[in-house]
Amino acid sequence: MTGATAVSGLLAAEVPYWASSIIKLGVVALVVPTAALILGYVFLMKMMSFMQSRLGPMEAGPYGTLQLLADGLKFLQKEDIFPDKADRTVFALAPLVVLISTFLIYVVIPAGPDAVVAQLDVGVFYALAVSSLSVVGILMAGWASANKYALMGGLRAAGQLIAYELPLVLAVMGVVIQAGTLDLQKIVSAQATGEIFGWGGIGNPFILTQFAGFFIFLVAVQAELTQPPFDMPVAESEIVGGYQVEYTGFRFLFFFMGEFGTAFAFGALASVLFLGGWALPWGDLGHWGFNIAGPVIMLVKVLAVSALIFWFRFTYPRLREDQLQRLAWKFLIPLSLVNIVVTGVFKVVL
């Protein structure tokens, strides 16, 4: 709707379209790497270390907070290697495709009544569609490296991503039925103002009524992100890092950023769809104050969801390829189909 006024609400002044666009671009250009940094630091470095009763980075900056910055700067200085046999163009573009996929998801994620880049009518649908772009990037990387491990990893990754794309899409359907819209902002407000069987004390965060959906979504996200227990595409003990095997320096870091950026984006998507997004069930949703409080609320929720994702990651061994597909096709997809029908019935009957 009012993409142009996104920031104006915040500043309580009319901001021209081009200015708001630039601000948004700037914000997101910062948010994606920052999100990757935060997740990487908080979870990959610190939470993992704590779970293993150690400390994680301590030397670079206080408590190692600058570790990932150092990593980034270090990777900038690494030599850029194209293997002889690699398909150079495709090899170079693959990380770009993955990164594009990540960036595009952020376009629709709302963090406040006006703090959204573009409020699309088909929000969820769009988010799911662009998130599926990364498959192409991964297949490109796997193919262009001209390396067996990479190709195997690429194929595995693609097979896995598409297998779990479906549960992801279908799990969202329950929310869409309940909210009756694809627009993420409306989904947020539907949750804030909703009622559970006539009781609206805490609104209706869909995690309560759509628990099956949330569960499927979470599992699917775990797989989409190729996190353990679904990390066969990058299994180092089997295929030494899979499609990333030939990537050096910053190109590698782009995959890394893509992975964690997407993790953050999916965490945000999950909190918008199931946890009520930026809103609180009390208070005036249109109030501009939510433009400031919203991002904070979102951040807390996203971190909670990511904590869950990474908790699984550090606890479980990985499944085998066939078990993974079996889980998707024989359990998650039927379950989500049933969930759709049941939700539909409730929606129509109630």
């Binding site: 398909d87 699309l120 009518d121 649908f125 498959v135 192409v136």
Partner: protein
């Protein structure tokens, strides 16, 4: 309106160039990737004329799924990373001729007929699409499911046969 025309021009140019590369490049993977560009261009065009839902569908189905299918197909049928098999017929002249003739005919038929009609890019919402689909086109809709089922079974049968053999 100007901006839209410019956007259209850019998209169209990129699309045509990519489409040409699709049919001329010797590397199949490259062809598939050029196809991605064409498909993305199509999606952009859809958005440009306000067909939002179809545009996104184009991305989801074509780029996210069909292309993956293509890439799988390619990777499963190429035995080597740097093998360069012949992809084209030896003599392409008849093909060029046919295509050009067809183009001439169509241009002749279309250009004058719809001159200077400005398209109205009012967005058509998903709800509209849905309402139309579930009222007027309910029978084709159900037919689609049967079609998909048939395709599924057909493909599985074919794939299975091959596995046994």
């Amino acid at each position: 309106m100007i901006a839209e025309h410019v956007a259209f021009g850019i998209i169209a140019a990129v699309m045509v160039a990519s489409a040409l590369r699709v049919v001329t490049t010797r590397d199949i993977v490259h062809a598939a990737l050029y196809l991605v560009i064409v498909l993305a261009g199509v999606a952009a065009l859809f958005l440009l004329v306000g067909a939002e839902f179809t545009g996104i569908t184009q991305v989801l189905i074509y780029i996210g799924a069909v292309i993956v299918l293509f890439l799988f197909g390619i990777m499963l049928t190429r035995s080597d990373f740097d093998q360069d098999a012949e992809t084209d017929h030896k003599r392409k002249f008849p093909a060029v001729l046919t295509a050009l003739l067809l183009l001439a005919v169509m241009i002749g038929a279309l250009v004058d007929r719809f001159e200077d009609i400005e398209l109205d890019p009012t967005p058509q919402t998903t709800a509209q699409v849905s309402d139309e689909l579930f009222s007027q086109y309910i029978v084709p809709f159900e037919a689609v499911s049967v079609l998909l089922l048939a395709a599924l079974i057909g493909a599985i049968v074919i794939a299975r046969r091959e596995e046994g053999g």
